[in-house]
Amino acid sequence: MAGLLDTLSAPLRRVGGVAWEAVERAVNEERIHLAVTGLSRAGKTVFITSLVENLLALAGGRDTLPELRARLEQGGANRLVSVRLLPSGSLALPRFDHEGHVAALAGREASWPGRTEDLAALSLEIVLERGSAVGRVLGPRRIRLDILDYPGEWLLDLPLIGMSFAGWAEAMLARLRTPARAGAAEGFLRFLDLFDPEALADEALIRRGHALYREALEALRGRMGLRYLQPGRFLNPGPRGEVPLLWFFPVALRGSPRPGSAGALLAARFEAYREEMRAGFFEGPFRDFDRQILLVDVLGALHAGRAAFEDTADAIADLCRGLRGAPGWLGWGRSPIARVAVVATKADHVPALRREALLHLLRALTERGLEGRPGGNSDGVSLHVAASIHATRDGKVPLGGRDVEVVLGVPVGEDRARPYFVGDVPPGWPPEGFWSGDYFELPVFRPPRIEAERGVGVPHIGLDGILVALLGDLL
């Protein structure tokens, strides 16, 4: 009998240990998937970098996120015990290069991190003291925050999942032929006049058409500031680069294309592209999101002109539909996305007194994407203005015979601070008379040099409010 007990004791101890660990994890650990996306140049990478640095600094005892600190306070003392970056472990996704981005900002000549080309993930562990004396017996709570950075252009491909090649091509060509876009897409539209989809598939010709279509998309993005450009991977192909399934372009079909024809090959590639995005992204990492941050460069769109502004509104509407439509959003469908923060970035380009107008403008821009959502706009969706890194200072200068409020910043590539006057920021959808037709590219100011030393934080505007709105229910 004693021998039997001896034999069983080791496995029993192991099982007991595993069971205890599981119970402890169930009681004390929570896992949150936070996705950060936005259309290109909205500042996703720098947003995550600043967010993480400021969380680490807050845990180190610096009040870098005052609203979040207030939320974590109890009886005048902070409940935040620690924040740490978790090792990558066996993560299947590329790791977000946080250290590299901090190094870029902390260099002698501080520079902005590069743009998001692929999915990237980073995990943080936030340890919180429990509020009640009874709860403290259970030990501190651990919130594992998995941050996923992905290009917003990819999300714009979500509507493609439910479209046929013919339907998509018709919609895209109609957009390209509008007067505002036709100039930038001239080369591709001329090519289409010569292209016969019923002819036998010619690989070289199809690749030429694809290259021209992509050039048109790049011109629309670069010269006109447009964002609603599909397919997203044409502009942001990801780590696999150029693969044959990307070699297609929109073309009008007359009925079902003949097998072996160019039209049939284009349709087949469209189907393959759609399937890969569905299986590799929308049913992969995309499915696990709990919380979502959607970054929008509202000022950039406003200054790029009417076409760009309306195009951005279309893109946001589709992004919102994408978030709530296919897998679901806030109780619609299957998605567990509980909270969404829509953020107008680059708020440091606007003097403090006029940021409220920027928030109202964001509300107008997102109205169409949020309309029809049950519960009204304030449930689960919050709107914010923010600057991931505050690179300017408010000031006043004489302009047009009067003193105007400006921000002062050092433009990238220059060596002296210049005042930037942001102009009218309408507190709602801009009226007809607002558009002048001029394209104005928002200046890029050099970021302030931050300390390389961990735990100092990064100057920002509004990140604390975003964190409270997104994670407040868990804290």
Binding site: P66, E67, G76, A391, G401, R402, V406
Partner: protein, 308 residues
Amino acid sequence: MSGRKPGFVDEAQAAPVAEAPRRPVLLEPLPGAPSAIEPEWAPGAVRQRVGTSSLAWLVGGVALLLLGWIGLSAVELVLAAFDRAAAYGWAASAVLGAAAAMIFWALSVEWRAWRALARVDRLRALLEGGGLEPARAAALGWVGQVSARLRDPAAARAAVGRAGSVVELRAALQLHVTGPLTEAAGQAGQRAALQAGALVALAPHPALDALLAGWRGVRLVREVAAIHGLRPGAVATWALARRVVATAAGTAGVELLTQGLSDQLLQHMPVLRHVAGAVPGATLAAVRLYRLARVTAVACSPLSGGRM
């Protein structure tokens, strides 16, 4: 009339208004422009949580020992009384039962006070970053808690019910609930200030000043809490006093500690001005109590950034 300030356009000396620039523009550097911009950002230090001290454990242990000793002695007393005579035993049981009932009543009062404080904390958290519906439900609960102090509770409930967003909900509470409550707290503060001023003026020895003001201060905290529907017992009053200290140290509280508030009090209370002329210490006690009332009102309100 200037370009920025309001005024009549036909003012005799009005200068012509410059056309407001509308389009964005990156201007040339000003003379002496710096080569780097450092934003005004200087985060302070966060107050870290201090764990339960050994003294607290010691006090807890001693309290447990005393309570256990009293409880066990009481049981032994009843058993011994029954050994002497049944009637004597029943009498001892009745006395102990009545004492236990009173203790439980006091504990339930404390427990309710804690719950009320926790409800205000929850509402504050929801108003800062929660969803509309949970915040509305919590706000309606709080309006019910303080309805006796409101001029028109039905209007307050209706305004809370109509709010279409958390921001509107805050505005509705501000207008219909916290405004009248803050006013009532201010009146309680004025009464306490006058009484404290008079008491200090009448006190036979300066050493009594602090004692009198302290006693009136504790009563005032309880009064203001009661105005906010909290009715704290002794333990909850202690918790509230700690919160008042934390509020006073915060940004909202600092505004309440400024000279302006003292001037405002003296302006509204001519009697106090006369007392102040005769006994300078009386004014100090009065002003401190008035400040205490205002800070307590902020600490008791779910709108931490509300009107003060």
